[in-house]
Amino acid sequence: MKRLKCSKIRKLSADRPEASVQLAKKELNKLQQMTSQSISVSDEIEQIVADLRRVAAPSSEPFVFTKKLKENRELLGAIFKDCGDIEFRNFDAGGKKALIVYLEGMADTSNLERNVIKPLMSQTGPDNPNTGNLAEIFATMKSISEHILGASSVSVLTKASAAIDAVMTGNALLLMDGLSEGLSISAVKYVKRDIGEANNEHILRGPNEAFNEGLPDNIVLVRRRSRDTNLKVQILKIGERTKTSVAVLYVANLVKPGLVQEVERRLGLIKTDKILASAKIEEFIVDHPWSPFPQLQTTERPDKVLAALYEGRVGIIVDGTPATLLVPCTYNVMMQSPDDYTIQPVISSLIRLTRNAAAFIAIYLPAIYVSVVSYHPGMLPTTMAISIAELRARTPFPSFLEAFMMEVLLEVFQEAIVRLPLRLSGAATMLGAFVVGTTVVQAGLINPLLVVVVAITAISSYSMPSYPFNLALRWLRIPMLMLASILGLYGVIIGILAVTIHACSLRSFGESYIGGLFDIDLLSDWKDGIVRLPAKLLKERPKEFGAKDLTRIGEEDG
């Protein structure tokens, strides 16, 4: 190509040296240096400011309350700087200045007005019975709370950190001039979901209340179902920044000795800044985080929690999550639904057997299909082999690829239907039915039998009572498929062995995950395992969880 020569056109920098790239780069470097310098300067300034702000206080405390309300207010103001939703309410109580600090929207203002502010302000009124000994009453926070306030739950706080904590949980903090302590008044009232129906674990007969996101409500839902003083609730705080409340529930005279301590030990070891869902706690406290199997039972049903507590297990309710954790958890527990106890024992036994068969099918059926079709067709009855061969005569792909494509398609559909807005998921379902049911087969990409196999597999995994377990089955399907496609039935058997060995070696808080199914020592547990006997015969608690008192019915059961 001929190069154009044009004397008129030159570089801009030749004309105007200040527009050259080098110059611009230099300037940019200078600018970057200046910004970094300014950042370091600002850091230093921040440091100095913090030093100036610092008051004599122990290292664990942000500050110490003084007797002067003005100073206290300034100290608090520094802590709550830029928190627009913090309210400072100044008023006059019995001739003293008082201050109430609370979070807007978290504290019940009408309650505060009625039971705190109004009684305090009326102390100077002419018709007040306390007028004579006001000074005495106002000497300590304790006496104020005892004589004047109408709030039900109050506590005297001397430490600043506790006071800040109280404000942040939605309590109101009362400070008075001349007193170096605060009073936390519990009047929490924030916006939350009502108690609704169990969406994910709906059952046909029996209670259908489900947990919501509020910890107190959830504890109440469990409490309300049992008037047992042995049902204990211990509340811990987890998360360096969020300080989420976590309640550990257990029945003191049933739970296996040491289990609660172990749960609390593991909870105490959690190092994280935030807890948004109970699943995070689950991942921190399980024994084998790499296993696909869920090792804690999660439920949104209070009745399930209570049933577990009375088997000697421990519940962990996390603030802000309806999904409650139950430990220890075994395969047996995963395969049971509250509905099993609301229908006739014979029927529920049949359903449980079906469920176990479905769990097997959900993992191994596609693998068995692939191995039989591409390695051992001699194992099929002749007529069946012939009909399968005729179905597969048009399909261009090897059976493994076919099954793998179908699996991918299935996963994509499931994911799409879960993620889509409700109004669109119907369309996705229809599309799936069209694509899989007819078009793929008619296009000759996939044979109808495989569609049947995959559909049976999917339906089997949907029949699991626990969603995480269904996910585990879905995940295990893929390696099994690989094994089957590489080694045939030999591979499938290796896979079955591997999965079984893995499930047997899993421990959930000391209990074997699947070993209870084969342990002859736990013979009495088999009555409520793969089958369910009538309630009259279920006299013992599961031995597996090591409850202190094994008899459910009898004289000695308090």
Binding site: T383, A389, E390
Partner: protein
């Protein structure tokens, strides 16, 4: 370091699986289902079909019936199978050479039937023909082996009107042998036959014939050890089945005692047969105790005369049926034992071996000479349970 070891282990495992895996993977639709094999004498050697042998002669023509894989669609007036054949001496070599006529591998795991023409059996022993089929790992023990007096190939060319694949149809012909006295099919499939050959017992095989698009099982081919010696008719087969109790149900006809020239039929539904060897002061004899229960199945002739409601007449009929069964068994004994000198599938020998092991040890070397002289005493007891009529 530990991590490296871990990764190395996984890699080794992965490589092993990847290298050794898939070695015998072949999709179902990429296999040619061989459903039936026919073995004839090679009388017309076609140039293209066959191959050059370094030694031996073109002794057999082996024909394979192979399934057509049509994707689901029903074919009209067309067989579901096709035939490939080859000539030579070694079965294995012929079948391998037939891969030259086939786009997919020939696969014998669903082989149903093996049909042998007696023209071959007159020249070659059965063991020699079955040798390949018993050695090959793809063959199943439950393959049916039939013998035909005509050519075997037309039988596997026959396409059944029921649209079943031919091999499946032919194998299922003997499926109801427990109800049909005329078919010898108990312990006559490939597995049992090979076992009898290995035990040096006499073999019998079902006989299959085809005339003008009619294929039928009936009677049996009899072998002295594994040498073909002839056929026995359906009546003898029925007798042998009743003698050994290998039937579950049967139909026995007699000439009516009161209206001669008409038949009365007994339908057997339960029997209790014990064939017992006895040894008394050095001589061996067998007793065959048969107890039968059944119904009156059919009465030809005047039913007012042949009154099934009459208990006394029923007794007469029971005796007559018992006589007929006894006659049938003695006929079988005459044909098989006295004339052919054949202990069919070694039943008598195995009974003696089981019940009288010491005696068996003494006589087993002369068993073939001794057997035709051993007497058999049959006692039959018939009870008629239902008569199927009312007043």
């Amino acid at each position: 370091m530990a991590k490296k070891k871990w990764i190395a282990c996984v890699l080794i495992l992965f490589v092993c699986i990847m290298i050794s895996g898939c070695w015998d993977m072949r999709e179902l639709q990429d296999r040619n289902f061989v459903l039936a094999v026919a073995i004839d004498k090679a009388d017309d050697v076609k140039e293209v079909e066959t191959f050059v042998q370094p030694h031996g002669s073109k002794r057999y023509r082996v024909s394979l019936q192979i399934l057509k894989l049509a994707a689901g669609a029903e074919q009209k007036d067309e067989s579901r199978t096709f035939i490939k054949s080859n000539t030579g001496e070694s079965m294995f070599e012929m079948i391998r050479d037939m891969l030259g006529q086939s786009s997919k591998s020939l696969w014998f795991e669903h082989l149903q039937v093996l049909i042998i023409s007696d023209a071959v059996l007159k020249e070659v022993d059965l063991g020699e023909i079955l040798d390949f089929f018993k050695r090959d790992s793809e063959m199943r023990s439950r393959i049916k082996v039939y013998v035909t007096s005509g050519k075997a190939r037309p039988i596997i060319e026959f396409s059944p009107p029921s649209k079943e694949p031919g091999g499946v149809f032919l194998a299922n012909l003997s499926r109801l042998h427990l109800k049909n006295l005329h078919v010898t099919a108990s312990r006559t499939d490939l597995g049992y036959t090979v076992q009898h050959l290995d035990n040096k017992s006499d073999v019998i095989l079902p006989r299959i014939e085809m005339v003008d698009k009619v294929v039928k099982l009936g009677g049996s081919a009899v072998f002295k050890k594994d040498r073909f010696i002839g056929y026995v008719d359906e009546y003898a087969v029925a007798g042998s089945k009743m003698m050994l109790g290998t039937e579950k149900s049967a139909v026995v006809t007699i000439d009516s005692p009161k209206t001669p020239g008409h038949q009365i039929v007994f339908e057997l539904f339960r029997h209790d047969t014990t064939l017992t060897p006895h040894v008394e002061n050095g001589s061996i004899y067998f007793t065959d105790d048969i107890t039968m229960y059944g119904n009156i199945g059919e009465i030809q002739g005047d039913i007012n005369v042949n009154d099934a409601m009459d208990p006394e007449y029923l007794r007469i009929l029971e005796v007559a049926f018992a006589e007929e069964i006894k006659r049938n068994i003695y006929y079988t004994e005459k044909v098989l034992k006295k004339e052919m000198k054949v202990d069919a599938v070694g039943r008598f020998a195995s009974k003696l071996k089981a019940h009288e092991p010491e005696t068996w040890e003494q006589v087993k070397d002369q068993w073939d000479e001794l057997y035709p002289t051993i007497p058999l005493y049959v006692s039959v007891n018939v009870t008629i349970r239902n008569i199927g009529s009312h007043k």
